[in-house]
Amino acid sequence: MSEQFEPNLVAFVCNWCTYAGADLAGTSRIQYPPNLSVIRVMCTGRINPLFVLNALQQGADGVLVSGCHPGDCHYMEGNYYARRRFTLMKDLLEYVGVDPKRFHMSWVSASEGAKWKEVVETTVNEAKEVGPFEQFQRNKINW
């Protein structure tokens, strides 16, 4: 059992704040675990909450959604809509028994390279804690 479980995580982030924040982490050579891969969209407002379900179905052990702090949205309101949507999606997932450690949302601004690292670490560590996601992953289905 020497092999430690390495979770596979998918993040949806906005172009203007979090993506830029993650870029800053890069330019600052801040190191963080490689388990999380980013899908870039222009605004958190674009992130359809059903993406989270889909990512879990398709093999993600956890999902992160991240964007600009309230009031900082490049499009003014996108993150406010996202906040509502993901509040509900989070509640729903938790309610059916999906561990809340598998879904996170964060505000990471373009200047918060260090925060990005923290967020990634939290997301990765929590996913490690709860192990591989099996509840409704597609490849767990015996065809």
Binding site: G71, E77, Y81, R84, L93, T122
Partner: protein
């Protein structure tokens, strides 16, 4: 209360109008305690209309379920009004449809039936199994009286009413063009005890609870089709391009179907309970929907279908919406 004569008279008058296409109400079903939606175009058909504790169907569904046939060239589309009988919960569906601009207010005539609660068929059929003859029912002072061949049977309402009615806070139509009789008093409150009970369980228990149900879903789409708020012409949940949910029936696709459906109804579900009622494999869908209604009410102070001037929950926000879960 439930003055059938008045109801039929109003219906007659309404369908006689030139600008009315048809009226939808309820009629006794073909057997037992069943009731069926009744579409009438001729005044004489109004004589079959009923309003009783058996009338669970939310007829607002039919406002959006109409399949529009192509109108031949040169012909005008039929834009006459549709008249609809509504209970309290049904009227909330109409209001929410209005909020979403799914229907236009001037295209419907709403006939309001203040309601003392409708029965849960499962509860009734357990008490009176194997009844073939058509049974009438009425409200009588805290009791529901069934007219069976062996005589009238009165049952305390708590024993047979649908759960949604036992906690109903909107027994009176929120909006109506005509109110058929006096309003009734609402239950005091809804504490979401059913949801709370499940929330109190461990995550694994919650999952095994839902897993059993989700895996038994046959994806007949009854729940979606009956829902007055699910009026997409082309629901993304059975669309193939792009595919959100595969057609195959298994725990993965079924769960995705259920969570997506529930999510699409967040802030829109008006708790008419129809989805749960129609599910042929008895999935407690309201337990899922109500989790979100509860959160919506607690976190966003929003109650769908109660205010025609409100903005849809998922199409609005407040800058200070709570966000304690955000990192």
């Amino acid at each position: 209360m439930a003055d059938l004569e008045k109801l039929r008279a109003v219906a007659k008058e309404t369908v006689s109008r030139d600008d009315v296409k048809y009226l939808i109400g309820w009629r006794q079903g073909t057997y037992g305690f069943r009731v069926s939606p009744h579409f009438i175009t001729e005044p004489e058909e109004a004589d079959k209309l009923i309003f009783s504790p058996l009338c669970s169907n939310n007829l607002a569904t039919y406002l959006t379920l109409v399949e529009k046939l192509p109108v031949p060239r040169g012909q005008e589309p039929d834009t006459r009004k549709i008249a609809l009988m509504v209970k309290g919960c049904d009227s909330r569906a109409v209001v929410q449809q209005l909020v979403e601009q799914g229907i236009k207010r001037e295209s419907v005539i709403i006939i309001g039936c203040p309601c003392q609660g409708v029965v849960d068929l499962a509860k009734v059929e357990e008490k009176f199994p194997a009844v073939l003859e058509q049974v009438e029912a009425r409200w009588d002072d805290g009791k529901i009286v069934f007219k069976l061949s062996e005589g009238e049977k009165a049952v305390p309402r708590e024993e047979v009413l649908a759960d949604k009615c036992l906690r109903c806070r909107y027994p009176n139509p929120v909006t109506a063009d005509t109110l058929l009789w006096e309003k009734v008093e609402a239950e005091s409150n809804d504490e979401y005890a059913d949801v709370g009970e499940l929330e109190g369980k461990a995550p694994e228990e919650r999952w095994s609870f839902w897993e059993a149900y989700f895996s038994s879903c046959i994806r007949c789409y009854s729940c979606r089709n009956v829902c007055p708020m699910c009026y997409c012409e082309d629901c993304i949940l059975d669309r193939l391009n792009p595919t959100w949910v595969n057609r195959s029936n298994n725990i993965s696709e079924n769960t995705a179907f259920h969570l997506a459906r529930a999510f699409h109804l967040a802030g829109r579900c008006i708790e008419c309970g129809e989805c749960e009622r129609v599910c042929p494999v008895n999935i407690p869908l309201m337990k899922l929907n109500r989790k979100l209604t509860k959160e919506v009410r607690e976190k966003f102070e929003y109650e769908p279908g109660t205010d025609p001037d409100s903005k849809p929950l998922q199409a609005s926000y407040r800058p200070n919406d709570q966000e304690n879960f955000i990192l």
